[in-house]
Amino acid sequence: MHYLLPFFKWCDSTWLGETIRSSRIYFPVIETFHLLALTVLFGAVIVLNLRLCRLIMKHQPVQQLAKDLSPWALWSLVVILVSGVLLFLSEAMKCYASKPFQVKMMFLFAALIFHFSIHWKVTRADRDPGILSGVFVGGVNFLLWFGVGLGGRAIGFL
């Protein structure tokens, strides 16, 4: 991945990155927002995917549930991405050397692509998906997002 090294070095040296690093308070505060927004988004991910697997809210149409969850979930995603970029800028060189960070980013890109393509299409269709496609799409979506979460937690430990 050495071709990315200049990019990581540049991120690490940005004004924002240096400002966050220079304070003991900024990083924990930003990380708390990251965690609070994660709680809301992952709650929605769990509810919608369990519905796709027909384990909860069976009598509610998938489309209506997806629309009801959307506004708060999307705003949470915005908070997560913005706070995540700030956290990254403040320790870009640590992330460069971190295997869990690489894994997390792969899960994140996969989760975003899957979420806004196949998952979005299935949950916004006028008719509820069949049980097999529901379990498949719900299961994959759940695993991708939890891969992101686990990878993120591992950055702090490994």
Binding site: G43, L50, D68, P71
Partner: protein, 165 residues
Amino acid sequence: MSGAPAIIQWMQNSDIGTGIRESIWLFPIVEATHVLALAFSVGVLVWFDLRLMGWGMKHQPISQVHKQMMPLAFVGFVVMFITGVLLFWSEAEKCYLSGFFRAKVVFLVLAGLNAGFFELSTKKTIEDWDKYPIPPVKARMAGLVSIISWTAVIIAGRATAYNLF
């Protein structure tokens, strides 16, 4: 040396406490479970709270949301509680002496009392609320107190780990 009572020091120095604290894998695994179970506990609960306040999931009948989602949140809380006790056990002195941890316990108790009052009293007329777009004031209050206290629990919990002050 420290101001913690004997039982706290005993917990910290017990085989369980020392074992979790000094294990390369155990502490991270318990901690990661504690954090990710947030999604199943508070993450699911917060959607019911938003529904209670009339701020979200407006097209879902409130009694259904409660019936379908609360068992899930309850399982989440059991996982949170067990992993939380284990984490406390391994760092009992640090937690006991931390102002943030004490605040966390206070807000946990507040959240528990609020949920208990809701389940035992407020909830009795929940079937009627399905007919209204926005639930009655006492239900909205229960949702608001729940969201505020759980947000405070998460903030205080995160701050305990950072040992900020």
